[in-house]
């Protein structure tokens, strides 16, 4: 695909090559040539995508057949139990930890139980100070809720916070668009009111359907710009 005439842009010939690639009739060598071209030629890549879309309907004629369970076991072993290959591996393994997911799921339940169990008495010590703070957490939960009570105004503020461990953690909020790398909306303030200023450039992305997710990061936020710790909560934005 490096010969000069390849760039002659004969759309019919390109359409045929794209179709041959998707059908699967080409040799291994030609397949590599097509794939190299896909990296740099967007019009040609669009032709390949269109064939993939059009012809994929043929797959629906195949009868579905479940693979044996050992296949998924092997996939999980390959992806999550493999020896750590680099320094970021330790963090990745936290993302992959089933225990974290279980605890994230339990966290919400634990919070509500804690609130029910404590009742209003916790905010009513004898000397009745103007401001009080309570940290609500269950055992082994990566996040807890900070309750802040301003007695003068009668306002109780609940702020999510990372459980203090390993010298402190921060909760970071992410905006996730389908198919794209999550972008940070900022670190949730431990003592603040849960308000974050969305940068101007990111406001167009705040659409219904975007996913907001919270991860536990080292104190001050992710050092890499991408989520490195366990995701403890997420939800899809909708209009109201």
């Amino acid at each position: 695909m490096t010969s000069p005439d390849q760039n002659s842009r004969d759309p019919r010939r390109d359409e045929v090559i794209a179709g041959e690639y998707v059908l699967g009739v080409l040799s291994a060598e030609d397949r590599r040539k097509v794939e190299a071209r896909l990296q740099s030629d967007r019009a040609f890549a669009a032709m390949v995508n269109r064939w993939e879309e059009n012809l994929s309907a043929i797959n629906h004629e195949l009868e579905t057949m479940s693979p044996p369970p050992r296949v998924f076991t092997a996939v999980e072993q390959r992806l999550f139990d493999a020896p750590l290959a680099d320094t970021s591996g330790a963090r990745r393994s936290i993302w992959a930890s089933v225990a974290f997911w279980r605890s994230a799921a339990l966290a919400g339940f634990a919070f509500s139980m804690a609130l029910l169990a404590l009742g209003p008495e916790i905010f009513a010590p004898p000397e009745r100070p103007q401001e009080m703070i309570a940290e609500l957490s269950g055992s082994d939960n990566p996040i807890s809720l900070m309750a802040h009570y301003d007695a003068a105004r009668g306002v109780l503020t609940m702020t999510p916070a990372a459980t203090r461990q390993d010298g402190g953690k921060s909760l970071e909020l992410w905006l996730v668009e389908d198919g794209k790398t999550p972008v940070s909306l900022g670190v949730l303030s431990q003592s603040g009111d849960g308000t974050l200023m969305v940068p101007e450039a990111m406001r167009p992305m705040m659409n219904a359907g975007a996913v907001l997710a919270v991860s536990v990061e080292p104190l001050g936020g992710s050092p890499t710009g991408t989520a490195t710790g366990p995701m403890v909560a997420s939800g899809r934005a909708r209009s109201f």
Binding site: V22, S66, D178
Partner: protein, 179 residues
């Protein structure tokens, strides 16, 4: 599972969301497994391939672009490309992409083209417009991942005849399906 749900799960997999990955596997593996099986032939080969395919899905989730293809076509393409690369390595065939393409006389007359356009743009309708034998060859190439040489010997026609069949069929399909 609907396409938008699969899209959502792929988005979650970008976040390294393991439960989402499990859900995607549960929803799609029974569709991708038969694709591998038809191309590779043997069950154990198809199982090994499926394992590699889901490893790739986990690793490449961030490259999925909903604007370019539907998520089911994207997943099928990963599965088919992997399986076809395996059979092509197992049964090598000659390279021929640089040769002259004999497609110059495949142009249709305008009248027939307009009939095709009005027939709708679905693949089954458009396949029905091809001669039965040629439509069957296109289908066989896609489903079994056969090379030109294998198709030619399957149909007992010269290699160049098979190339002409499929290349003209592809152009007719594109014309019928629309851009």
């Amino acid at each position: 599972m609907r396409d938008d749900e699969i899209s959502y799960l792929i988005g979650r997999i970008c976040l390294k969301d393991r439960p989402a990955f499990k859900r995607l596997y549960d929803a799609t593996s029974a569709r991708l497994f038969p694709i591998c099986l038809r191309i590779l032939g043997k069950r154990e080969d198809a199982e090994d391939a499926l394992q590699e395919i889901y490893v790739k899905i986990w690793q490449k989730a961030d490259r999925f672009s909903p604007d370019a293809t539907s998520p089911s076509a994207w997943l099928a393409a990963i599965a088919r490309n992997h399986a076809i690369d395996l059979v092509r390595a197992r049964r090598p065939v000659a390279s021929d992409i640089e040769e002259a393409y004999d497609i110059a006389d495949a142009a249709r007359d305008p009248e027939e083209a307009s009939i095709l356009k009005s027939e709708g743009r679905r693949i089954d309708g458009c396949m029905g417009r091809l001669e039965a034998e040629k439509a069957a060859a296109v289908r066989l190439a896609y489903v079994e991942g056969l090379s030109y040489e294998e198709l030619a010997s399957r149909y007992g026609v010269p290699l160049n005849t098979m190339k002409t069949w499929l290349r003209r069929s592809l152009l007719k399909l594109r014309e019928c399906l629309g851009p």
